[in-house]
Amino acid sequence: MTDICLEFKNLTLGYQGHAAVHHLRGTAERGVLTAIVGANGSGKSTLMKGIAGILKPISGTCEQHFGRLAYLPQQSELDRTFPARVVDLVSLGFWQDRGFLGRITGKDRAKLAGCLDVVGLTGFEKRPLDSLSGGQMQRALFARTMLQDADLILLDEPFNAVDGRTIQDLIRLIKKWAAQRRTVLCVLHDHALVREHFPRTLLIARKLVAWGPTSDVLTSENLSRARNFQEAWDENAGWCEDERPGFSPTHEPDAGRKQRVAANV
């Protein structure tokens, strides 16, 4: 089945000439739930920003075969002191449907109430944002993501400071998205959670370590390889010249592993 949602072609992302995600290749299929795992500074959030189009690639491309994108960033620029109600925040999710000048209809309001019900926030419509707890805010943001009705959903550490029960509720929601043939990429640190709920995993350490079925990726060998990477920038690092197509850069995984990665994808 050639049902590809995202295709990384030698994608390199970074800041000020330093690569943070190096020569990433691979594809993500429609309706697949993928966890993105890696240490701090391994390029997970950078990859998310690259897919969302907020960060332009240094080289390579990220080919997109999807209609709509929903992106829930890790460091939200959300102003929690802004005098808005929960319903104002969640209804931002209609943006792609209603556009710049559109108005929100009665049908939209019913749909919004349904989404609030799913995340367990019924009755919170009129509550000001600054009165929400961290977990309630995260639930509200998930309700907004639901309304966006996106084909590709990017979640960057969505369970930070969220309690166990809420995580279970939100995981159920994420699985429902995947069942609706939406592609979900989710950055996570909790390996137990990944093993339990995410069929596929992308392990990254500024370059791809492994990508495939979770049980094949989260091996102790891969994890120790992912831990030993250079986190700091090196001002004297040589320029990477390996941009020629068909050229296999020396810092790529060795050939055998590359084949395994390709087979897993």
Binding site: F82, L92, W95, F100
Partner: protein
């Protein structure tokens, strides 16, 4: 009582014009001030009001004390400063407060140089403090058009403005309008400052924009209500300031701003979210 409150406006045409001009300006300025405050750009209004000076001064030097050239000059320079600092912050790592400070200081220095080059200090006082009691038809027409443009823009872009303040990164991920909406908002700020500069002068025009907005914050926690309360405070301050200036023979612009300042102090103390409310918390509470 009746005479002293209504009399001045019934008897004198210049008071009627002053009232019309400052009330329309209040209705237009106050919501702009609310959004400036919510974006933590309260001092940007102040900086922008200084930035307008060289444009107004250039109009004054070339055409004398005539409203239209001074307004157009102020508008052009204000937009250059607003767009310049907006663009620098969009495309470089520098934050908007820093680029705004740089642009407005350059602009202010240029303005003072221009005014001191020709023209006496009396004229400078006029440019800086305005004269709401001398509004002519041109000036009133300008203020009314600016109010109309402001309300049209708010009506069309309300959701986008709220989204840009509330969650700019989200807006950027779903739409390309984030940047343009921000620039449009800066244009509205300049327009309203230029409108206010007719009535109150460059130094005080920002007062009618910001004081009612920051006073309103002590009363409400909802954007729409905030705008309405700010408008009411601004209109009442204009009325009160004009009466004060009439009866006590004070300059009208500062009198209006002082009235708004009084509204701010009262709100700070007695507002629903003000000092007294937080200093004297009620021990009564609901069980859920």
């Amino acid at each position: 009582m009746y005479d002293s409150l209504l009399g001045p406006f019934l008897q004198y045409g210049f008071m009627q014009r002053a009232l019309l001009g400052s009330v329309v300006l209040s209705v237009s300025c106050a919501p702009v001030g609310v959004f400036l405050m919510l974006r933590r750009m309260s001092l940007t209004g102040d900086a922008m009001s200084h930035a307008i000076l060289p444009g107004a001064a250039l109009g004054f030097l070339l055409f004398g004390l005539d409203i239209l050239p001074m307004t157009i000059g102020g508008l052009v320079v204000g937009l250059v400063v607003a767009l310049g600092s907006g663009l620098v912050s969009r495309f470089t790592v520098q934050k908007e407060d820093a680029s705004m400070a740089a642009f407005y200081l350059i602009s202010l220095a240029a303005g003072v140089l221009l005014v001191s080059w020709r023209g006496s200090s009396v004229d400078l006082m006029h440019v800086l403090f305005g004269s709401v009691l001398a509004l002519n038809d041109e000036a009133i027409g300008l203020i009314v058009s600016i109010a109309a443009v402001t309300f049209l823009a708010f009506g069309l872009c309300w959701r986008a403005l709220v989204a840009e303040c509330l969650d700019p990164l989200f807006l950027r991920s779903v739409s390309r309008f984030g940047g343009p909406v921000h620039l449009l908002f800066l244009v509205l700020v300049v327009l309203n400052l230029v409108g206010g500069f007719q009535a109150l002068g460059t130094l005080l025009s920002v007062g009618l924009m910001m004081l009612p907005a920051v006073a309103a914050r002590f009363w409400s926690n909802d954007v729409r209500t905030l705008c309405l309360i700010a408008i009411v405070i601004a209109v009442v301050s204009s009325l009160g300031g004009l009466l004060l200036s009439y009866h006590a023979s004070m300059p009208s612009g500062p009198a209006i701003i002082m009235a708004a300042g009084g509204a701010y102090i009262l709100s700070t103390i007695f507002g629903r979210r003000g000092v007294l409310a937080s200093a004297l918390p009620s021990r009564r509470h609901r069980s859920a």
